[in-house]
């Protein structure tokens, strides 16, 4: 009989399995903490949670709502993950989403007379380009001027929300300009509904298609390989002749574009026109989605699904039990904090230092 070897066992356990267990643990702890908060409010936490679940998955309509909420989260999750794979911290998804929504609205409202087969992709493209410009600025500022992308993205977020507010109150406001909103998008630029009688629109399928592209790009293309190398070891990347500067700009263009698509699908599929508050924080949610998903394609789908459930179910929980939807933000924050805190355990923690040295496990490129 072979003795159970803990160290060997741990090294054999694939990094993916460990990542999944860390993510699951984070989610479970976050749910427990939020249930305690709900209990402190004098509401039965089990009732609140079951209301949330039935509101997110309990009926055809509920599932459709979850899909609707998932769509932007998939895009912003990919946006953060892609930049993170290249060693960048893109926290500008919110701003890129806003600009993408703005450019998509302009294309969707002011280009009449096109058939849907042309207008729909064109409007999506406009959204992508809007976000790409907003992300590309960050890349150029970093490569050309050495400006830290964290600060520039934070600043550009606020510039973008102000820009959208200005636009819907001024240049693109719906005549006669009584409300802070744009004119409705033309029918040829609106994403068709895929489940009759619900709000589920084509955007979810487009988003999932982009997840596949995201996977193929990062793991099956030469560029993607370069990007991952640059993220894991910038020096090695430079020595092996990879043009890291150009890759940074490219990555920020695509990452911005992906967030832009989140904004585009929101106006084209859900809201039908541009409002000053087009996103309730989908951009920032992308960070949590990507962290939960460890920057992998299937992980991002799982993370977006989870937060989609929270967002969709949160509303019916509020209606049924009076627990404010804002509790979702609390859950989300705890999830993020749990993942980064347990990342320390994954690295080796306090006591595992020696074991970690001996096992010499290749971590799956999880950088937070």
């Amino acid at each position: 009989m072979q003795k159970f070897d803990r160290i060997k066992f741990r090294s054999n356990m694939s990094s993916a399995a460990r990542q999944i267990s860390v993510s699951l643990m984070a989610v479970v702890v976050a749910l427990i903490i939020s249930m305690l908060v709900i209990a402190a409010m004098g509401v039965d936490p089990m009732k609140a949670m079951s209301k949330m679940l039935s509101g997110a998955l309990g009926s055809k309509n509920a599932i459709a709502e979850t899909l609707v909420k998932m769509t932007p989260l998939l895009f912003t999750g990919m946006s953060y993950a892609l930049a993170n794979r290249c060693g960048l911290t893109n926290i500008g998804m919110e701003g890129q989403l806003y600009v993408g929504a703005l450019t998509a609205t302009i294309a969707g409202v002011y280009i009449p007379g096109l058939p849907m087969i042309v207008h729909l992709p064109l409007t999506m493209l406009a959204g992508f380009l809007g976000g790409a410009i907003w992300g590309g600025i960050v890349g150029v500022l970093k490569v050309r001027f050495g400006a830290n992308e964290i600060i520039t993205t934070v600043m550009l977020n606020t510039v973008a929300t102000n820009l959208v507010q200005y636009m819907v109150n001024g240049p693109i406001t719906e005549p006669p300009g009584d409300d802070a909103q744009s004119s409705p998008l033309l029918d040829s630029a609106s994403l068709p509904i895929i489940l009759k009688g619900t709000r589920a629109h084509l955007g979810i399928l487009i988003a999932l298609l982009f997840v596949v592209l995201f996977y193929l790009f990062l793991w099956k293309s030469k560029k993607g390989y370069e990007i991952r190398v640059s993220g894991q070891n910038p020096n090695a990347a430079i020595y092996s002749g990879i043009n890291t500067g150009r890759n940074i700009i490219l990555v920020m263009l695509i990452a911005g574009g992906l967030s832009g698509l989140a904004g585009a699908t929101e106006v084209m599929g859900v809201q039908g026109r541009l409002f000053p508050s087009v996103s309730p924080g989908y951009g920032f949610d992308g960070i949590a989605v990507s962290l939960i998903g460890a920057n992998t394609a299937p992980g991002i789908v799982a993370g977006a699904f989870l937060f989609g459930i929270l967002r969709a179910g949160g509303n019916s929980m509020q209606r049924a039990t009076g627990v404010p939807v804002a509790i979702i933000s609390v859950i989300q924050a705890v999830v993020i904090l749990m993942v980064v805190a347990t990342g320390f355990l994954r690295e080796g923690g306090f006591k595992r230092k020696k074991a970690a040295k001996r096992q010499n496990v290749q971590e799956g490129g999880v950088s937070q």
């Binding site: 964290i150 600060i151 606020t158 510039v159 200005y166 933000s329 989300q332």
Partner: protein, 308 residues
């Protein structure tokens, strides 16, 4: 209204509006100098705005409310340091989580304690301290000599923080930890202790800023009432080139933007409000790109340090 009154009023409201941002920016500066970047300033301020109102409401004393907010903010600072210093978690991600937490918890607590009621703490508001004689000087009299005490405190903290950072041994240690933690460690400076201290004190200042915003300026709590002021503070630290005086001038400039933006509709201007509010952020980006002289952040800012 004549021009002098407008100018005086603008200056008065500029200093008042700069106060919460200045307090938070000084807190951020202290953290930054020790090597910690706290994107979560907005969230900490937001939690503090609520705690201050709730504290004032229950204790009937606005100063106690502010102390409650500072205590909670200090705890959050310790928590931030625990995650980023002891556990070496990514500071940016933790900061983002604090922002999310701030939005969520301030709203949840508000609904829990007060439901949908609107709570005003106007009756406990800070009393103005007017200095007889000096307050009657045209233009600057009201602005400089008839303000709430917190405004004086905030601006007096500028030379205090400056003296602390650049003239005291602890300040020197703190800055060395932010520039080169390895070397500081070799010299026997406790890097972790320094960063914990900076995080706690820094966040307490943000708490004070948040408290003044709600109890001092608006006498109430509203959801998401910080409206990006935490990010303006972040911008002010960079635009002020990581120096207390520079940070003060930057916050006064940015607050002037806010004051002017608020004034615009009343004087019938057609310049859109949102364009004016964009200016601080655009200026900061320009500064970061190096168009207004070089901005050098502390060398170790944002990087975790592992002892031994």
């Amino acid at each position: 209204m004549n021009a002098i009154d407008i100018l005086g009023g603008l200056l008065t409201s500029d200093l008042r509006m700069a106060t919460p941002i200045l307090l938070s920016a000084l807190g951020l500066l202290i953290m930054n100098r020790s090597g910690l970047i706290n994107i979560g300033c907005e969230g900490i301020m937001l939690i503090s705005t609520f705690i201050a109102v709730a504290g004032t409401y229950y204790t009937h004393n606005v100063w106690l409310g502010m102390l409650c907010a500072m205590a909670v903010a200090g705890l959050l600072g310790a928590f931030f340091a625990f995650l980023t210093v002891s556990l070496r978690a990514n500071q940016i991600v933790v900061g983002v989580a604090l922002n999310t937490l701030g939005t969520g918890i301030s709203t949840v607590l508000n609904r829990m304690l007060f439901g949908m009621d609107f709570i005003s703490v106007k009756e406990y508001a800070f009393a103005k301290i007017s200095i007889p004689g000096l307050q009657d000087i045209p233009v600057i009299g009201q602005a400089l000599f008839a303000q709430m005490p917190v405004v004086y405190i905030a601006f007096l903290l500028v030379p205090v923080v400056s003296y602390f950072l650049f003239r005291t041994p602890i300040g020197l240690d703190l800055r060395s930890v932010g520039e080169n933690p390895r070397a500081a460690d070799t010299l026997g400076i406790d890097v972790y202790k320094m960063r914990y201290g900076a995080a706690i004190v820094g966040c307490m200042l943000m708490g004070m800023g948040g408290a003044f915003l709600s109890t001092g300026l608006l006498n109430s709590f509203q959801e998401s009432m910080t409206a990006n002021r935490g990010f303006i503070a972040l911008a002010a630290v960079i635009f002020g080139k990581y120096k207390p005086t520079g940070v003060m001038l930057a916050t006064m400039l940015f607050a002037l933007g806010l004051a002017v933006a608020n004034l615009l509709p009343s004087i019938g201007s057609t310049i859109p409000y949102n364009i004016v509010t964009m200016i601080p952020y655009l200026l900061t980006i320009v500064a970061l790109a190096g168009f207004v002289g070089k901005v050098t952040p502390p060398a170790a800012a944002g990087k975790p340090y592992k002892k031994g």
